[in-house]
Amino acid sequence: MSAERPWRTSPLRHPLVSGALLCALLCLVSLTAASDVPGRPPAPRGGDGVDVLRRAAHAGQDVPYEGMQSVTWWQSTPPRTELVEVVHQPETGTLFSPGREGAGAPGFLMGPAPLDAPHDDLFALLDANFQVRRVATEVVGGRAAVLVQATRDGSAPAARFWVDADTGLLLRREVYDLDGELAYSSAFLSIDLAPRSPDVAEPARRGQPWGNQLDSAELSRLREDGWRLPEGLGAGFALVEARSTGSGQDRVVHLSYSEGICLVSVFVQRGSLNGGEVAGLEPVEKDGAIVYAGGEAGPQRMWQADGFVYTVMADAPEQITGSLTHALPSPDGSGFWSRVERGADRLGSWW
């Protein structure tokens, strides 16, 4: 009997089965691509390094310091390093200035008033998505530091942190991509715990967050108006904060996603790009859809979809950022598969 019905031995080869699987896959893709409801976050793993990093986060705000920091992007060609002079006073803020060759140029002041720091949310994500362990004690810049390593499932390192054993300041940090390759690092070349007061008379720019913080009710109202504002991007990245600026057609929503280590910003606004040029980004066409990509200091993406323009900026390796953008609406395109993908997105959002 089985000889007369060969599909019984290989169900996936049967057209009906494979067709049903393909359709189920389409439905699944459309549902997951448009999912606005986060899944239940995984349980915390209780790694002994989380408390060390929590202390570092608070020390970064409460402890005054001054130092020269190097930042290196290892996956640029060739790897690129920048030097930044950092002066932090809790009551004034943090002033960042170009280091060495650019010394004397105006800097960038952040603060002083801290935002409603989402520390707890981010540490919960960190503890849920990674195994965070103290692994060693090392010396960084002449100071004893506790080395904390965050590990992905499968033991690939996701990040390593060197935390000053005395003050709790974060002295050095490395972030790795999904393959365990070093993506970028930052480290203090020197640090002084008795800093001068930052010269805030005329900094080049001042950083203040957008004032309108969105709660879940406002996000729901926007979604009902057609805005696609997912609660998660996959790979453990969850929405940790939402802000907006402007109003009416000029409104821009800023969504911040994190998995505990990297932070990804998604800016959403009504409108289209009309195929024009975008300064600093290069157009990349695929199946009639154009995505503008680039960004020296972290991956950036921009595209239009369904009457909205999406801009992504990430403090994450390029590899991770590329995988996360699939959770957002597909870019408008004239090709067959672009249209099918867009239709699947819409069907998913209607469900």
Binding site: R5, A20, R80, L122, E138, P209, R270, G276, A297, M313
Partner: protein, 217 residues
């Protein structure tokens, strides 16, 4: 003395509890009629079990395949027929044999199986038995392809481009500042969040020797 009735079949089926079973066995030891009846029930059950699982008969498959052949199917009413004169679906009666009477006329069909099968029908039956899996596969293939086509065309239609929205130019520099401010406020701010104006780039000499020139150690 009352006999066992339905408790006897429950005993044979093993559905009695311990107490009931003891009582029934006690009755059987005394009652020859019930003992005979129990033996008969056991024999019937044993024969039913020996029959094995039911398989579709060859003539049933033959009639199914004949439905696809033009002009040969049981859809055509038999010459002697009227309502109810064709064999019921699943009957083991071979195609082409005639009922001795008609249900509609009050005659009772014979339970005896007519084994005389015309040669051409027998050949068609064998052909249809061989063709069954292929026909079934074709049907499933058509259904699967239709399913996929419907899903793709639905997604294609739903993906129609909407009316063109007014053109905008997202202010990347403002977005970078906002991103930096929020990132700086995050628990452990990353190195890429600092939009320092045009810092000079220092190519790292040792591309493989990480962390290279910036190693503070």
């Amino acid at each position: 003395m009352s006999h066992l009735g339905e408790r006897l079949s429950a005993l044979v089926d093993g559905e009695l509890g311990n107490a009931d079973r003891e009582r029934v066995l006690g009755h059987l030891a005394r009652c020859q009629n019930c003992r005979f009846e129990a033996d008969m029930l056991r024999a019937v059950k044993r024969r039913l079990r020996d029959l094995g699982p039911a398989e579709p008969s060859a003539d049933f498959l033959g009639r199914l395949s004949a439905m696809t052949a033009p002009g040969t199917g049981p859809i055509d009413p038999p010459a002697s027929g009227g309502f109810g004169s064709s064999p019921p679906l699943g009957s083991s009666r071979p195609v082409g044999s005639q009922w001795p009477g008609s249900f509609g006329r009050g005659a009772r069909p014979s339970l005896a199986v007519d084994t005389t099968v015309p040669a051409e029908v027998d050949t068609a039956r064998q052909r249809s038995v061989r063709a069954w899996p292929r026909w079934n596969r074709t049907r499933f293939a058509v259904a699967g392809a239709s399913f996929v086509a419907v899903a793709l065309s639905t997604a294609f239609m739903a993906g129609e481009e909407g009316a063109s929205a007014p053109a905008v130019s997202p202010p990347l520099s403002d977005f970078a500042v906002e991103h930096a401010v929020v990132s700086k406020n995050a628990s452990l701010p990353g190195p890429m969040t600092v939009p320092v104006p045009a810092p000079p780039a220092i190519p790292t000499d040792d591309a493989s020797g990480r962390p290279g020139a910036a190693d503070p150690r």
